[in-house]
């Protein structure tokens, strides 16, 4: 925890106040920038279609209605079913949780090995993993489809979990490696002298230090997996489609009548789990840090 505050000790109190005001003005300005699209989305979702058609798109609603939210959750058509996002939500949950957990655990172990148990070629493997992050997903769709077919996982949730784990490893490894590399190697050496083994050291020394980076990794992985559309649409079939596919079906119909209020409500609903993770995890993020165990 740094105690560093921009604090020009020589300046007089009013200078300090001015600086503080400037700081808050800046922070507030940025907050406005970040909130703008959300404002548009929320206000639009609270308007009636009639008002959207006739009024300005960017304005407060004249009359607030939650009809669009109800429709998005349980009434919007995503095909011939008109049950809203609800039926698809569970698919995404069942898919995202194991995929996030597995890829985080694998990333933690990989990062631990690469940062602390260096062996010949470890850096090469790390580079290969990293470069793997950059392969465009559009490239892997077709060969992956073939592989999933051969493995008998085509169109299933385990198949989707597998894909997300494979293409998540690069990032999770990167995060943990960069975190563990700041932990002095003497720690491992000392533990080895004490007779602790590979997993023992990981479990009792590294894992307790890892909360902040676990939070970052989980946030990243959960966001990527929950918001993924390309894999979700390609490797699912009827009954296993994740919520983004349903959202897309509501939002992206080409020749149908567009209901922007339902679109926006659906988008916010589909994003609620990730939003929740950001709000809740943000707290643990800080808590993990204020525990004061991490030193450079």
């Amino acid at each position: 925890m740094t105690d560093l505050v921009i604090n020009p000790t020589q300046s007089r109190p009013w200078g300090k106040i001015l600086l503080r005001a400037l700081l808050f003005a800046l922070l507030g300005l940025f907050a406005l920038f970040y909130l703008m699209p959300l404002f548009v989305m929320v206000t639009t979702s609270l308007k009636s279609l009639e008002e959207i058609r006739t009024g300005s798109l960017i304005a407060f609603p004249r009359e607030i209605t939650f009809e669009a939210w109800r429709t998005a959750w349980s009434g919007a058509c995503t095909g011939i079913q008109c049950e809203g996002l609800r039926p698809y939500f569970w698919n995404s949950v069942v898919l995202a949780i194991p995929a996030v957990l597995i890829s985080t655990v694998v990333g933690a172990l990989n990062g631990y090995v690469i940062a602390q148990w260096r062996f010949r070629g470890a850096n090469l493997i790390f580079s290969l993993l990293l470069f793997g992050c950059f392969i465009p997903f559009q490239v892997v769709l077709l060969p992956m489809a073939r592989m999933l077919g051969l493995m008998g996982l085509a169109g299933t949730i385990p198949g989707l979990i597998f894909v997300h784990v494979i293409y998540g490893i690069g990032f999770t490894t990167l995060f943990f490696r960069n975190y563990y590399v700041t932990i002095p190697q003497e720690l491992v050496k000392a533990a080895k002298v004490d007779g602790a083994g590979f997993f023992r050291i990981f479990w009792s020394i590294f894992l307790p230090l890892s909360l902040p980076i676990i939070v970052v990794t989980v946030i990243w992985q959960f966001t990527q997996i929950w918001n993924d559309f390309l894999f979700g649409v390609s490797f699912s079939q009827a009954g296993t489609q994740p919520v983004t596919v349903a959202l897309n079906n509501i939002v992206n119909s080409t020749t149908g009548v567009k209901e922007y209020n339902v679109d926006m409500a659906a988008a916010i609903i589909a994003a609620l789990p990730t939003l929740l993770v950001y709000v809740v995890a943000g707290k643990y993020f800080i808590r993990g840090l204020t525990a004061g165990s991490v030193k450079g």
Binding site: R53, T78, I80, L141, G155, S234, Q237, G256
Partner: protein
């Protein structure tokens, strides 16, 4: 493809000596997901269920079917193809060439499709002489929509030639009204372009340029004139057209902010949804020039294993072309039935016009596939043309340059 559905089914039924055939099953991949469309497809699902079938819905919207096609490719490669897929135009034949489509000739012949479908539309449903897809509807693409009140207030009639259109547009512009409501997305640019091309090149020239890809026509003076008119159209569009959704453009016509819009007949759905009455509040007419550009939605059946699925394909094909579905679906969708023997009493005046023009143009050979909506050409070629059209429309490229680019792009895509 090797065995027809019915012989396969009956053969199995015989060997098992069982009286009943397998219960029809179908997993249907389509991109009709908006409220009105979903209601329309639900009609089909209900009929399917009434005939003892089980329908599994696999909707994937987005990009006019692009996302669905992505999913389809992945499914086919993983050996897990859906039973029936919304496919249209030459894409049907392309998939056939990959050897993954099933033959539904048995149903088509039993139902006498050849007698009730216009020949040019039937042609899209056949692969090597066998039926491989079932048509659902006919969208007309070359519509021009107008705000009745705005036109009356400015003393304008629906234009019958592009010169008349230009005169009307100039008048509207002088009155401070945006002449043409348009959304600057590549497919919308292409929609306007092909409407203009049909008017200027005529049915014959359109056929040569966008179906046969005849280099002479693509580089002809006529094509230069088409791009000249596109440059004029660019002037009739408001400044903020870029990226606008087509329905927001329709709303501009509805609100009287704009006079005309050139768009397929799904735009009618927007007007009707807003409670507007055809003939009173808004007008529909074919764009200047003779001909009819169609965009036919259809379902292709994929080669799948299992009697239940094959029975499902046969039943589905039969129902899709059935009179009841053709009527109910198209009433919801704004299009007209693909088969010509459906009574149109329940349809509105625009649909009547569309049906009449379709029959007439089928007789005189001007019933043509829409290139902008993937009916005329394979994806690589139509995409190459659209690239040029949209690049020209969104820059100050000269018509001569555009024509040269067009020829190069088409050559490159072959």
């Amino acid at each position: 493809m090797k065995t027809t559905v019915f012989t396969a089914v009956s053969a199995i039924a015989l060997t098992l000596a069982a009286p009943a055939v397998a219960e029809p099953q179908a997993e249907v991949l389509h991109w009709w997901t908006s409220g009105g469309e979903a209601k329309s497809v639900a009609v089909l699902q209900k009929e399917f269920a009434d005939n003892g079938g089980t329908w599994t819905d696999m909707p994937v919207a987005g990009g006019g079917g692009d996302a669905a096609m992505t999913a389809l490719r992945a499914r086919v490669l993983s050996g897990n193809a859906p039973t029936a897929v919304q496919l249209k135009g030459p894409a049907i034949q392309e998939w056939y060439e990959e050897g993954v489509l099933a033959d539904i000739s048995a149903v088509a012949e039993a139902e006498g499709w050849a007698d009730v479908l216009p020949a040019s539309i039937a042609g899209h449903m056949k692969c090597d002489g066998n039926w491989c897809a079932a048509p659902v509807n006919v969208h007309r693409v070359d519509w021009i929509w107008a705000n009745a009140e705005v036109l009356a207030a400015n003393g304008i009639e629906m234009p019958n030639s592009w010169d008349e259109f230009n005169a009307a547009a100039d008048k509207l512009a002088a009155a401070g009204i945006t002449p043409l409501a348009h959304g600057g997305q590549a497919w919308q640019d292409a929609t306007v372009f092909e409407a203009v091309a049909l008017g200027i090149l005529g049915a014959d020239g359109f056929q040569k340029a966008f179906v046969d890809l005849d280099m002479e026509t693509l580089k002809s003076d006529g094509m230069v004139a088409v791009f000249d008119q596109m440059r004029k159209m660019r002037g009739y569009v408001d400044d903020n057209f870029s990226g606008r959704d087509w329905n927001l453009a329709t709303a501009m016509v509805m609100n009287g902010e704009a006079g005309f819009q050139i768009m397929g007949d799904w735009a009618k759905g927007e007007f009707l949804a807003a409670g507007k009455v055809p003939g009173d509040d808004f007008l529909c007419a074919s764009v200047p020039g003779d001909g009819f550009l169609y965009n036919v939605d259809s379902f292709a059946m994929f080669d799948v294993k299992g009697d239940d699925k094959q029975a499902g394909q046969a039943l589905l094909a039969e129902l899709i072309v059935g009179k009841n579905f053709q009527e109910v679906f198209n009433l919801n969708k704004g299009s007209i039935p693909a088969r010509v023997d459906v009574a149109l009493d329940a349809f509105d005046s625009c649909a009547h016009l569309s049906a009449k023009d379709m029959t007439d143009s089928a007789d005189n050979g001007s019933l043509l596939p829409s290139y902008a909506h993937g009916m005329a050409l394979r994806g690589a070629q139509s995409g190459a043309i659209t690239d040029v059209v949209t690049a020209h429309f969104n820059s100050d490229m000269s018509s001569a340059e555009a024509v040269q680019m067009l020829a190069n792009a088409v050559q490159n895509s072959l």
